[in-house]
C-alpha cells in the first residue's frame, strides 16, 4: 500500500505481470520456487535449513538495465550464484521489496561448484526516472544476508517541462 504513494500510484494503476521464467536451466540446480512478496520472511521461506556453512559467489549483485523507454513492460533480472565452499548451499529465502515483483529462486541444495538462480520481475508501467529495487537473500553462509539490486533509468517520450 505504502509504496503506491512514493511512486505516485495513489490510485492503483500498476498491473503486475508475470514474466516468462521458462528459460534453459541447464547446468543449474533445477527446482525453482516462484513466489510473491509477503510481509514476513517466513512466507518466502524455502522451508529448509542447513547447519553447515559454505561460501557463495555472485556473478553480479547489481544489474543495471540502463535507459529503457517507459511502457507496460516487465523487466527480469537474473542473478547467478555459485557455491564456492565445501558444503552444500541453500537459499533460505528471497525477499524482494516491490509489491509488483514476482520472483523465483533455486530451491534445491546447490552442490559444491554448482550454480543457482534468482530471478526478479519488475513492471515499469507508469514509472519515470531512475528506479532502483532490492531483494534480500539469506543463505547458509557466514554472511547471513545479501542484497541484490536492479536499477533502470526509465525515459519518457513526453516533455514534462
Amino acid at each position: 500500500m505504502k509504496k503506491a504513494l512514493l511512486l505516485g500510484t495513489i490510485i492503483i494503476l500498476f498491473s503486475c505481470q508475470e514474466s516468462d521464467f521458462a528459460k534453459d536451466r541447464e547446468g543449474f540446480s533445477s527446482s525453482m520456487k516462484k513466489n510473491e512478496k509477503s510481509n514476513s520472511p517466513s512466507k518466502m521461506d524455502n522451508g529448509r535449513r542447513l547447519k553447515e556453512l559454505t561460501k557463495i559467489e555472485f556473478e553480479e549483485k547489481l544489474i543495471d538495465f540502463g535507459d529503457v523507454i517507459s511502457g507496460d513492460t516487465t523487466l527480469t533480472a537474473t542473478y547467478v550464484i555459485k557455491n564456492i565452499g565445501k558444503n552444500p548451499l541453500l537459499i533460505e529465502y528471497v525477499n524482494p521489496d516491490c509489491t509488483c515483483s514476482n520472483f523465483e529462486f533455486t530451491m534445491d541444495t546447490i552442490k559444491e561448484n554448482e550454480r543457482g538462480l534468482i530471478k526478479l520481475d519488475f513492471n515499469i508501467k507508469n514509472k519515470i526516472g531512475l528506479n532502483k529495487f532490492y531483494a534480500t537473500l539469506r543463505a547458509n553462509t557466514n554472511s547471513k544476508f545479501y542484497k541484490l539490486t536492479y536499477m533502470v533509468n526509465i525515459k519518457n517520450n513526453q516533455n514534462f517541462n
Binding site: 505504502k2 512514493l6 495513489i10 519515470i128 544476508f145 542484497k147
Partner: protein
C-alpha cells in the same frame, strides 16, 4: 521502494571524510557564514564515518544513550557505534529466532527514553524490544475508523477526520514520541482525497497520527499542512513536512515550501511562528494540473531536487535553539538556519543532505549520509565554539 529514493540521491554525493580517531575537521565548512546576532558564533563541522559493517546500507540512524545506531532496513540488523563512529555491537537481524526480528523490511523506528525500541513494518506491524533488546511483543496498530485498515480506498463518503482514509507516510516516516505516545506522519491515498486530485486534501487532510503505546491504537489524527499549498493547483511533490517534539510537549513544524516555522501545542493550537527564507532557493515550484502519474514522478524525482525546500527541523530546548535545514538549488551544499528564541542567528552552508537529529550542547549530530556504492555511512558533528 519508498524512502530509498532519498538514499539514491545521496549515494552519489562524494564527500571528503575520515575515520574515527583521525577526524577531519572542517572549520566553517564553507566560508560563507554571516552573522546576524553573535559576532562570535562559530561552528565547526566534523565528519565522522561509521566503521564498516556487513549491511545493506539501506536504512537510517537513531541516537540513544550516547550511541548512534544504524538500523538496516533490509537485513533487520541494528548496528551500534559510539559517537566517534567506532563499532560496538550488532543486534537483531531478519529472521524468526528469539533474538531476531520477523519483519520483511523496517520502514520506521523509534527509540524511547526508557530504552524500548519500536520497529514498524509495511503492514501496520510493530515490533517492540526492551532496553536489553529482548522482544516484548509483535503487534499491529489499531487504526479504528469506518473500514478495515488497508481498505481506506473503499470509503464511500470522504470525511477528513476518518482515520480509515490514512496510512503511514512511509516516505517521510520520522517518528517522535513522549512518555505514552508516538507521533507518526500520515497521508491519504483515497481516490477522491489525495494530493493529485483534491484541493480539499491540502486544506483538511490530517498529517499526524497519535499512537497510544498502551494498546497500540491510533488515538487521534490531527494537524494540517501549510496554507501556502493552497496557492497552487496541486503540489503533492512538495507537500511533505518535518517536525520535532520537544520536552515541553511542543510540536515544531517546518513545511517544505514554507519559510515560516510553526510551534504548536499537542492539540495543534498555534503558539508561535517565525522564520525567514533560506538563501539560494529556487522556489519556482512546478504544479500538477491533475491526475498525471508520470508527471508527478518526473516532478518528484527529477524536478524537486533542483528546487529550494526545507528538509528538516530540530529543537534544542536547553538553549532555545531551533535548527532548520534546506535544500538549495545547488548540487554541492545545503543550508542550515539556526534560530534562538525565534530570531535567526545564522544561515550557513553545510554538506549536502545534512539534517540535525541529535542535540547535546555544544554538540549537534546529523542524520546519515549513506553512500550505498562505497558502503559508507557518514554523520556530521557540529560544535558550537
Amino acid at each position: 521502494m519508498k524512502k530509498y529514493f532519498y538514499y539514491f540521491s545521496v549515494f552519489l554525493i562524494s564527500l571528503n571524510s575520515c575515520k574515527n580517531n583521525d577526524l577531519q575537521i572542517k572549520e566553517n565548512y564553507f566560508q560563507d557564514n554571516y552573522k546576524t546576532k553573535y559576532d562570535n558564533l562559530n561552528i565547526r563541522i566534523d565528519t565522522i564515518v561509521l566503521d564498516k559493517v556487513e549491511s545493506s546500507y539501506l536504512g537510517d540512524i537513531a541516537y540513544w544513550d550516547n550511541r548512534v545506531y544504524f538500523i538496516d532496513f533490509r537485513f533487520g540488523w541494528v548496528f551500534g557505534f559510539d559517537l566517534e563512529g567506532n563499532y560496538l555491537e550488532t543486534k537483531l537481524g531478519q529472521g524468526r529466532g528469539p533474538n531476531e526480528i520477523d519483519i520483511a523490511g523496517i520502514d520506521g523506528f523509534y527509540f524511547s527514553e526508557n530504552g524500548n525500541k519500536y520497529f514498524f513494518g509495511s503492514t501496520n506491524d510493530i515490533h517492540i524490544y526492551d532496553k536489553n533488546w529482548e522482544k516484548i511483543q509483535k503487534t499491529s496498530m489499531n487504526w479504528g475508523g469506518s473500514v478495515q485498515i488497508g481498505k481506506g480506498y473503499t470509503v464511500k463518503e470522504v470525511n477528513p477526520k476518518d482515520p480509515s482514509l490514512y496510512s503511514l507516510d512511509y516516505e517521510h516516516l520520522k517518528i517522535k514520541g513522549d512518555e505514552g505516545n508516538l507521533y507518526l506522519p500520515i497521508y491519504s491515498e483515497h481516490p477522491e482525497f489525495n494530493g493529485l486530485v483534491s484541493k480539499n486534501y491540502y486544506k483538511e487532510g490530517r498529517i499526524l497520527a497519535q499512537l497510544n503505546l498502551e494498546d497500540y491504537s491510533i488515538e487521534r489524527i490531527f494537524g494540517r499542512r501549510t496554507d501556502l499549498l493552497m496557492d497552487y493547483k496541486y503540489l503533492m511533490h512538495h507537500s511533505a513536512f518535518s517536525f520535532d517534539l520537544n520536552e515541553h510537549g511542543k510540536l515544531i513544524v517546518a513545511n517544505e515550501i514554507d519559510p515560516t516555522i510553526y510551534i504548536y501545542d499537542k492539540d495543534f493550537n498555534l503558539l508561535e511562528s517565525f522564520g525567514v527564507s533560506g538563501k539560494e532557493m529556487d522556489v519556482n515550484y512546478q504544479e500538477l494540473k491533475g491526475l498525471d502519474i508520470k508527471r508527478f514522478q518526473y516532478l518528484y524525482f527529477e524536478d524537486r531536487p533542483k528546487r529550494g525546500f526545507y528538509t528538516g527541523v530540530k529543537s534544542d530546548i536547553t538553549k532555545n535553539i531551533i535548527f532548520r535545514t534546506y535544500n538549495k538549488n545547488n548540487g554541492s551544499y545545503d543550508g542550515l538556519q539556526i534560530y534562538e528564541n525565534g530570531q535567526l542567528l545564522d544561515d550557513i552552508q553545510v554538506p549536502k543532505g545534512l539534517k540535525i537529529e541529535y542535540t547535546s550542547f555544544p554538540y549537534y549530530y546529523s542524520g546519515p549520509i549513506i553512500d550505498e556504492l562505497n558502503e559508507t555511512i557518514t554523520i556530521y558533528k557540529l560544535t558550537f565554539k
